[in-house]
Amino acid sequence: MTSQDFVLRAVNLDGGYVIGSSEKELRFVHAVRNVSLNLNYNEILGIAGESGCGKSTLAKILYGAVDPPLVLRRGSIYLHTSEGRIVDITKLDKEDLAKRIWWREISYIPQNSMNVLNPMKRIRDTIIETFKFHGIEISKDEVTKYVRDLFDFVGLPTDVLNAYPHQLSGGMRQRVVITLAMMLNPRIIIADEPTTAVDVVTQLNILTFLREYQNSKKSSIVIISHDMGVHAYMDTAIAIMYAGSIVEYGKSEEVFQEPLHPYTKMLMSSLIVRGDKGLKRGIPGSPPDLRNPPSGCKFHPRCPFAMDICRKEEPPIIEISKNRFVTCWLYAKR
């Protein structure tokens, strides 16, 4: 793969949380296992998985926000900057990241982003402060001019600038945070469950906005969600996570039309669509506890095709065709 293709490339990321109160009792929760990913220029990459599968942890690591108890044990993240250089953001210190990379190159929309605004500050002041932090002085009137287009795009009236966060609904606050994340024109946006706490009408507005914005700026988005409907609507490519590993990756048409991994297959067939009242079945069992995961393939206790080797050894990543990967013993040539 040439360096032109990717904007962000993660290689063999491995990390998790160190928990425990005393030195002796320290335990490691292995939340991200050997994950490699490419985010290409002008694409929306979806990361799907159930709660506790490590998708939010992966998002934090990709953003470079590795703070204790989260630790990154191995791996590199190469960022193709707007100046055309390639930097490994795991090697940068916090100050460098904050001044040069965050907001300018990569923005992060955290989960429950509606609650991140300072309740004591008007929206206008929050925006001015963000600019100031990145070395841009802007006056109160200029703010209105600057954000008008963005606000128009997300469907917010400009009066919002003078409001305190509590005066806005959840969906409006979420849009304010998204506007903030886009203000400095980042090339990469990492959005962690951007629409979980809002109703379906607002959800569609926010997602459509993200998609149109991505399309007009030719930027790249990583979208993390448990909701397969969101992925169907948004994704160019999709990675399915289970218990810390990516079990399947491919163009979203391919994954939706012909899922390969047993987990993806069962997940897809458990989804409800309109016009079909026929009986559906969920996946038996429940997702594993990452503190104490099963041996071998982490899905084997719930998998109807589990073989001996699945219980003993972790499955390899198998390339089925170009840019189509599955991590499952069923597809291994032996």
Binding site: D199, M228, S252, E253, F256, M268, K277, R281
Partner: protein, 324 residues
């Protein structure tokens, strides 16, 4: 109202909540809502976004809130004018399952105690071995057993298992009406559909009616027989679920249904969003139709006069578009 042909009759219920500094100004969290459930078992879905009044309605049916106007009759009896013996009977007949299974159970108490308590105090089952049999029976109905549950606390179960236990507890008294408030919204997609299948089973095999409250249009379609759509305290549309989904009448129902992101690739071509947001309280205080500020068909009349309930082929809709 004849007490043999209706299970639940909600009659023009209005609930006021205060707002502002002292809460002296009031808005209508529920506005003149009427609903009837037949005695034959059915699953009625109540759909609405946050602030639609769906939880308020549920709390009124559970006798946790008293409406400011209107009455609620259960099998012909006004539930707010019951003697204490009737209240006990009502508690047996009407049971509830809540949204967050981890908050339902005290983490310091074995979960089986909750089932035991229900039998002991609500149903007065004195014999311990009889209680065990009943608990085991009910747990088996939801796909568990006493053996799997006995002695364990809530942190030893997954969300899906806890929700099953929660349903089992509610079913112990053989209720005629089960209220389920977003029972699957906290669960993972792979476990969701199994809980919904249990609800279907409860209706089919135990002949228990269910009110399923949700904001999730797709799960609503999967389990529901009839649907009631709430918007800012108004019941805007009511009818058989397939009819409403195939041909929504109220502009809000149309917007809601067209916004659903189905997990299939066709979705990309289908949807076109509406870009307008409004301040919630302003909508609640509208004199006329609460949806007027967002409605593409709104006229002056919509802002000024509340729309009447219009009946069309066994369905009901509150919208001036259909008034003749």
């Amino acid at each position: 109202m004849n007490n043999t042909d209706t299970l639940l009759h909600i009659n023009n219920v209005t609930k006021l909540f205060g707002y502002g500094l002292l809460g002296l100004r009031k808005f209508r969290a529920l506005n003149n809502v009427s609903l009837t459930m037949p005695i034959e078992p059915e699953i009625l879905v109540i759909v609405g976004e946050t602030g639609s009044g769906k939880s308020t309605l549920l709390k009124i049916i559970l006798r946790m809130l008293v409406p400011d106007y209107g009455t609620v009759l259960y099998k012909g009896k006004n539930i707010f004018k019951m003697k204490s013996s009737e209240v006990r009977w009502y508690r047996q007949e009407v049971q509830a399952v809540f949204q967050d299974p981890f908050e339902t159970f005290n983490p310091l108490r074995p979960v089986v105690d909750y089932l035991n308590d229900t039998l002991k105090y609500l149903l007065k089952v004195r014999n311990a071995s009889e209680r065990k049999t009943l608990i085991d029976q009910t747990l088996r109905f939801v796909g568990l057993s006493l053996e799997k549950v006995d002695g364990k606390r809530s942190n030893e179960f997954s969300g899906g298992e806890l929700q099953r236990i929660s349903i089992a507890r509610a079913l112990l008294s053989r209720p005629k009406l089960l209220l389920a408030d977003e029972p699957v919204s906290m669960l993972d997609a792979s476990l969701r559909v199994d809980i919904l299948n249990i609800l279907k089973d409860v209706k089919e095999n135990l002949k228990t009616s269910i009110i399923y409250v949700t904001h999730d249009i797709l799960t609503a379609y999967y389990v529901g027989d009839r649907i009631a759509v709430l918007y800012r305290g108004d019941l805007v549309e009511l009818g058989p679920i397939t009819k409403v989904y195939n041909e929504p009448l109220h502009p809000y129902t149309q917007l809601l249904l067209s916004s659903v992101l189905e997990p299939s690739l066709d979705i990309r071509k289908k949807v076109k969003p509406l870009k307008r947001s409004t301040i919630e309280l302003k909508e609640f205080l509208l004199q006329g139709c609460k949806f007027a500020m967002r409605c593409p068909y709104a006229t002056k009349k919509c802002y000024e006069t509340p729309p009447p309930e219009i009946k069309i082929n066994g369905r009901a809709v509150r919208c001036w578009l259909y008034a003749t």
